[in-house]
Symmetry: C2
Subunit: 414 residues, 2 copies
Amino acid sequence: MKKLRGACLIGQSGGPTSVINASALGCIETALAEECITKVYGAANGIKGLLEGRIYDLDMEDPAELHLLKHTPSSALGSCRYKLAKAEDNDKDYKKILEIFRKYDIRYFFYNGGNDSMDTCNKISKFLLKNDYECRVMGIPKTIDNDLDLTDHCPGFGSAAKYIATTCMEVYRDATVYGEGSVTVIEIMGRNAGWLTAASALATENGAGPELIYLPEIAFDMEKFITDIKGVLANKKDVMITVSEGIKDKDGVYISSYFEDKEKDKDAFGHIRMGGLASNLAGYAGARVDARVRGIELSLLQRCAAHIASKNDVEESYMAGKEAVNAAVSGITDKMVGFERITGNKYECKTILVDLEKVANLEKKIPLEWINETGNGLLKPFIDYASPLIEGHMEYPSKNALPKHAKLKYVLVK
Amino acid sequence: MKKLRGACLIGQSGGPTSVINASALGCIETALAEECITKVYGAANGIKGLLEGRIYDLDMEDPAELHLLKHTPSSALGSCRYKLAKAEDNDKDYKKILEIFRKYDIRYFFYNGGNDSMDTCNKISKFLLKNDYECRVMGIPKTIDNDLDLTDHCPGFGSAAKYIATTCMEVYRDATVYGEGSVTVIEIMGRNAGWLTAASALATENGAGPELIYLPEIAFDMEKFITDIKGVLANKKDVMITVSEGIKDKDGVYISSYFEDKEKDKDAFGHIRMGGLASNLAGYAGARVDARVRGIELSLLQRCAAHIASKNDVEESYMAGKEAVNAAVSGITDKMVGFERITGNKYECKTILVDLEKVANLEKKIPLEWINETGNGLLKPFIDYASPLIEGHMEYPSKNALPKHAKLKYVLVK
């Protein structure tokens, strides 16, 4: 097949991760080196910036600064949470995109994000095809939530999982130093899938982690929660608990909503207080068991802690970006790069290509058979699955004893 | 001078740090190797366990496991927050301590903690002296708060400062990825002294940190807070703010108390909600400026993150423990080990000995001349002071890609 000549555009979308830029770098470096790719552009803030014509000229960047992207957390090109309408309903955005693609002769489009971004990719690709504009469209996955289907795991998950497991081990040490008992509730991201919260089980496996783990996959019950805690406290003075932000009761109601009371819930200045699930559950438990309680929300820290990234995750993320370009140049389009685990004693993983259309509408949850019978812990298959994903310490460049992150020029095209 | 022969006892007290065990290790390893020290004991949960006769026989520990204490966060011997009465008012505890010291022939007592622990040390020492019981008593400092006086800095501060600066840099990247503006408020420990919060200025110095920093040293004003934020937002779309948990208004009222409302502040289950200062201030700002807001509390994470400890801090902490034993064996008593910075181009620090009595009742705050005129940022003298303290990456032993912490046997003496 004759290679398609033209410019390429890369965009990033959705919640950032600590390795999303490693994927961008894999894509950018490969594209810069590719003879048939005439220019490398970056969309500022993903589709949103693209629609506004805010496009960076990445050829203008210093290669050494670009290379620091491998260790720089959080969408260096900027991100967005913009959902495209269906082209059948409203094709205004699509027409604008086509116009910009024509203007800059963009023949390769790489979009780095989660489910929604794959959906965006897919819609754009279909519209371009319908309008006879030849363009190779590839999705590069990213999500700490690990909830993309048709791939063994997602870039970003391993590093977030490593941060969570390490932090749980350290907090466990801290929370248990006093003679008196304690209840520590740690809130972890993951709205519908419990992968990240489950990663705290790796700490437990290493001797210092949560005794109780609550995932969105299992209906949460407030009574059972207290019974579970009392069960742990019958044998030891401290209990550590991890909960997914997205735990729901048997009727599908978010537990976090239990603590919302629009009337009462105003501070002295008259506006709604923003209490976290962790501190609310800690308070709830504190009134029912005899122990000091504390709630901790890992918040943004869990998705940007590049200083403790998993080497496997960083390298695989880079590989995903690189593979997206290679596949596109070889003539492939409408695919997302995924990972397949190679069976064997030693962990190895290779890239695969999956249909954008399929992956866009799926969500992968933790298999129920990986969760214990009492619904508050993980079993060996999960440990075996997650352990290799956090492997490897990623050395990072530093300056003044702090991480050295990429400083890009961000030259906008006229 | 003839060397005093007898057993030694080490205890840990107060809020833990990520390097408090490095000090304990310096003390334990030096004591184990010292000929005139006949036994090495550890007090379980500091003075509290000592009073209950819960004492560990540290000679029974495996030296290799003990050595892992250098990388193990949070008071491995357990901690307490127990305040001794004045001996003149009630000498019950003191008599009990003397009885235990006699029983085990404890002639060296090392106490690893902050101001209160130095006060405890001092009181015990005076009581033993008055009762003609020869015992060398030495304080080994520890506090992330860095508020002990008569020492250049405190073991534990450098590592917490490094965690805070690194985390601020990473969160800064994350919080600013969207096109829309954002206000991120990060709450940092330090009740009366702002050292830890000030450490976030190291991130700013490195190009990605808070634009506004509020310390307990400067009276906080809610109006000015909003004016400050608007000032930053006039020039850029995002603002990051760090606040000390202990900020107070001009009348000395804690700002955190502004948001407490015992009547309204109950959740659906009828008990007080525990809202953090960060999220409350974020909510307050969110109602007054046009930006997304978020509050993040660094909570325990900032004091137990041994995975990102400062090498200088770990080595100095070890040195402090070692020096305490050496000084005591050489005949010195009633002192705390402190640090003095050696003047020169390259950072160097040596141990000094300061009077327990003096240090117990002092609290060191940030010099006002290190704070900017608008009371919301740090000046170069602080950066110069703090930078060397976070220097050096401390490699740590790991297992399954997670930190390998010491597993002690904790053999109680009969």
